[in-house]
C-alpha cells in the first residue's frame, strides 16, 4: 500500500478560496449570459470536496453529480479548463460539449459531472468494481446530494457495493435541500446516514463545514478500505449559500438560517485555525485570496479567447471510432 501524501493545509485553504472565487465569477458571467443552461454553484460546500481530496491520492477515483465545478477544481482541473467549459469552448474540460453539469477530466481521475439525480451512483460502484477486479490499491469517492438517496439506483448501488465488498466511499453532501425540498420532506429517516445501516455499510456523520474533520474522517475510512476492501458511507453536513441553480431565488428558507451557516463558513474556519496556530498571517491570507481572484480572472479571459469546436468535428464525438452511421 502506498502512503497518502500529507497535503499542506495552507495549500488546501487556497484551493477552497479558488473554488469560492471561481463560483462567484461564474455567477457573474452567467448573469452576463456568457454561460448558458443550468448552473449550480458550490459556494458554502468547499470544505467537503477539498477535505476529501486532501485525504486521498491523486489517482484515486472521484465521481459526482451536477454541482461539480468544485470537484474538478479540487482534483486539479485548471480554472481555465473549467471556465472554458462553462463558456462552451473547445478548451473546456469536456470540450464545451458537456457544460456546467457535465465536467469530466480523465487525466485527473474525475469521472464526471452527472446530471440525472443518482444515476452516477451505480457508475461509482462500477469504478470501484474495476479497482477490485484489477486488485489495485485505490478507492473511489462517490459524491451525491441528499436528494439522491431516494432514487432506486442509489439503493441498488449500495446493495451491490456491500454485496461485492467494493472499495467505495459514498459521500452524501447533505446541504439540507434538494431544490426546494428539505430533507425532512423527502426522506422518511431522521438521519440520512441510517440508509447505510440497511445495507450493512458502516456510516458516520461528518461536519462538512470543518475541513479538518472531513479530511481526517475520509483518511481514516480510506485507510481501512485500502487494507481490506469494503464500502463506507459518510453523511457530510453542509450548506449551499446560493439558490439551487442560478434561476432559484431560494425563497423556501430564511435569511436567519443562511446567516447562521455563513457564520460557520468553512474558509473562515480553516483560516482561523491556521492563524491561531501561527501557520498563516493576515497578509498571507490576503495574498492567497488575491491570487485566487487573479487566477479566475485569467480563466475568464482564457475562456473568452478560446475557440469553439467546429461543427464538422461534432460527429467525432458520437461514436468512438468517429464513424457517422
Amino acid at each position: 500500500m502506498q502512503p497518502v501524501e500529507q497535503r499542506d493545509e495552507v495549500e488546501m485553504l487556497s484551493l477552497m478560496l479558488l473554488i469560492r472565487r471561481f463560483e462567484e465569477r461564474a455567477s457573474q458571467q452567467y448573469q452576463a449570459q456568457k454561460i448558458g443552461g443550468f448552473c449550480h454553484l458550490y459556494i458554502g460546500q468547499e470544505a467537503v470536496v477539498v477535505g476529501a481530496i486532501a485525504a486521498v491520492r491523486p489517482d484515486d477515483y472521484i465521481i459526482t453529480a451536477y454541482r461539480d465545478h468544485g470537484h474538478a477544481l479540487a482534483r486539479g482541473t485548471t480554472a481555465n479548463a473549467c471556465m472554458a467549459e462553462l463558456f462552451g469552448k473547445e478548451t473546456g474540460c469536456s470540450r464545451g460539449l458537456g457544460g456546467s453539469m457535465h465536467f469530466f477530466d480523465k487525466r485527473h481521475h474525475m469521472y464526471g459531472g452527472h446530471a440525472i439525480v443518482a444515476a452516477h451512483v451505480p457508475l461509482g460502484v462500477g469504478l470501484a468494481f474495476a479497482i477490485k477486479y484489477r486488485s489495485e490499491d485505490r478507492v473511489t469517492l462517490c459524491f451525491f446530494g441528499d436528494g439522491a438517496i431516494n432514487q432506486g439506483s442509489f439503493h441498488e448501488a449500495l446493495n451491490l457495493a456491500a454485496l461485492y465488498k467494493l472499495p467505495i466511499i459514498f459521500i452524501c453532501e447533505n446541504n439540507l435541500f434538494a431544490m426546494g425540498t428539505s430533507v425532512t420532506r423527502s426522506t422518511s429517516l431522521k438521519q440520512i446516514v441510517d440508509r447505510a445501516e440497511g445495507y450493512d455499510i458502516p456510516g458516520e456523520i461528518v461536519d462538512g463545514m470543518n475541513f479538518r474533520e472531513v479530511r481526517d474522517k475520509i483518511a481514516e475510512v480510506a485507510d481501512s478500505i485500502r487494507k481490506e476492501s469494503h464500502p463506507a458511507f459518510l453523511e457530510v453536513r453542509t450548506y449551499r449559500y446560493r439558490g439551487h441553480s442560478m434561476s432559484d431565488p431560494a425563497s423556501y428558507r430564511t435569511k436567519e438560517e443562511l446567516e447562521k451557516y455563513r457564520l460557520d463558513d468553512p474558509i473562515i474556519r480553516l483560516r482561523a485555525q491556521l492563524t491561531r496556530e501561527g501557520k498563516l498571517t493576515n497578509e498571507q491570507f490576503d495574498q492567497l485570496d488575491r491570487q485566487a481572484k487573479q487566477t479566475v480572472l485569467d480563466a475568464v479571459k482564457f475562456a473568452e479567447e478560446s475557440p469553439q469546436l467546429p461543427v464538422e468535428k461534432l460527429y467525432d464525438y458520437v461514436y468512438f471510432n468517429g464513424a457517422k452511421l
Binding site: G36, G37, F38, G88, K89, S94, G96, L97, G98, G99, M101, H102, H114, A115, I116, V117, A118, A119, G147, A148, N150, Q151, G152, S153, A178, M179, G180, T181, R185, S186, T187, Y252, Q308, L309, V311, L314, Y315, Y317, V318, L325
Partner: protein
C-alpha cells in the same frame, strides 16, 4: 376569448379537472410548495390542499408506479415529470406497466393516468437534459401521446388527457411556457380531442407538418416563404398518437409537396412513420420526394452554436421547403 400564456392554460386545465373530479390528484417533484419547477402548478396547493397536490422525493420510478397502482383501483393521477428527460428513470413504469396492464389482465384493468411535463430540448441543457421522447413513447402500443404548441391546445388537450381512460402523455415544451395565445374564457368548457390535427395556417403550394416546438418555427418560415411567393400550409399534428392521417393527407392532396419538421432524432423519428403512411396511401399525390427536418443524429452538445446546428431550425426548414418546391 382572452390572451393567456401556455403555462396559465395548463394551470387552468389542471385546476378545472381537479375541481370537477375528486379522484384526480397531481403528484411530482416540487409541484406543491415550490409551485412547480416551471410554475405550471402555481396556486394549486393553496386551492386543493396537500392531499391532492403532492410533493414527492426524487423518485420518478417510484411515483410513476404509485400513480399506475392508484389508477388500477380507479383514481385518476396526474404525474408530473419535472422534465421528460427524467421520465427515463421511470421508463419501466411508463412503458412496461401503464400500457400493458389492460391487455395482460384481459381487459380487467385500464389505467386512466396522465403523465405530463416539459419535453424536448430547451436551451443549452446538454445531452442528459434535452431528450425529445415523443418517438420512444409513441412506438409503444397502449400509450397515447400529445404535443400541444399553443395555450389553447395545451388547455384543451390536457383536459381531454385527464378524462381519458387510458395512459396519456402530455408532452409540453419549456420554451413555450411563456408564449401567449387566445383561449376560450374559463366558464366555457374547452376539450380538444386527441388525434385531431389543426391547420395553423392555410396555404396552397406546400404542406409543413409540425408539432410542439416546431410549430412556431413552421409559422415563422411560412411567413418568410410568402415573400418568395411560396404559400405554405402549416399542419400542427397536436397528437402524435393517435395520428390524424386524414388532415395530413387532405393538405397534401391540395399542395402535393410536404416537409415534416420534427423535434426528435431522424432515426426512427415521428417523421419516418408519417412518410411511410403518405407514400403508402397517397403516393400519387406527391410531386416531390418528402423531406424531413429533425435534430441531427447526435447527443445534444452544450455549446450554443453547436446546439443550434443540431436542432431543427428555421434555416433548415426554409431550405427544405424550397427544395421540395424546386424553387
Amino acid at each position: 376569448m382572452r390572451e393567456i400564456t401556455y403555462r396559465q392554460a395548463l394551470n387552468e386545465a389542471l385546476a378545472e379537472e381537479l375541481e370537477r373530479d375528486p379522484d384526480v390528484f397531481l403528484m411530482g417533484e416540487e409541484v406543491a410548495e415550490y409551485q412547480g419547477a416551471y410554475k405550471v402548478s402555481a396556486g394549486l396547493l393553496q386551492l386543493f390542499g396537500p392531499k391532492r397536490i403532492i410533493d414527492t422525493p426524487i423518485s420518478e420510478n417510484g411515483f410513476a408506479g404509485l400513480g399506475i397502482g392508484a389508477a388500477m383501483v380507479g383514481l385518476r393521477p396526474i404525474i408530473e415529470f419535472m422534465t421528460f428527460s427524467f421520465s427515463l428513470v421511470a421508463f419501466d413504469q411508463v412503458v412496461n406497466n401503464a400500457p400493458n396492464m389492460f391487455m395482460m389482465s384481459g381487459g380487467q384493468f385500464n389505467i386512466p393516468i396522465t403523465f405530463r411535463g416539459p419535453n424536448g430540448p430547451a436551451h443549452q441543457l446538454g445531452a442528459t437534459h434535452s431528450h425529445a421522447t415523443e418517438n420512444f413513447y409513441a412506438s409503444v402500443p397502449g400509450l397515447k401521446v400529445c404535443t400541444p404548441a399553443t395555450p389553447r391546445d395545451a388547455k384543451g388537450l390536457l383536459k381531454t388527457a385527464i378524462r381519458d381512460d387510458n395512459p396519456v402523455l402530455v408532452l409540453e415544451a419549456e420554451l413555450l411556457y411563456s408564449s401567449k395565445g387566445m383561449v376560450e374564457p374559463p366558464d366555457e368548457e374547452l376539450l380538444i380531442p386527441l388525434g385531431k390535427a389543426e391547420v395553423k395556417r392555410e396555404g396552397s403550394d406546400v404542406t409543413v407538418v409540425c408539432y410542439a416546438q416546431t410549430v412556431p418555427i413552421a409559422l415563422k418560415v411560412a411567413a418568410q416563404l410568402e415573400e418568395e411567393d411560396i404559400s405554405a400550409e402549416v399542419v400542427d399534428l397536436r397528437s402524435i398518437k393517435p395520428l390524424d392521417e386524414r388532415a395530413i393527407f387532405d393538405s397534401i392532396s391540395k399542395t402535393h409537396r410536404v416537409v415534416i419538421v420534427e423535434q426528435d432524432h431522424p432515426y426512427c423519428g415521428v417523421g419516418a412513420e408519417i412518410c411511410y403512411r403518405i407514400q403508402k396511401d397517397i403516393f400519387d399525390e406527391l410531386d416531390a420526394p418528402i423531406l424531413r427536418v429533425s435534430q441531427e443524429d447526435v447527443p445534444m452538445p452544450y455549446n450554443e452554436q453547436l446546439e443550434h446546428h443540431v436542432l431543427p431550425n428555421a434555416e433548415k426548414l426554409f431550405a427544405a421547403v424550397k427544395k421540395v418546391c424546386y424553387a
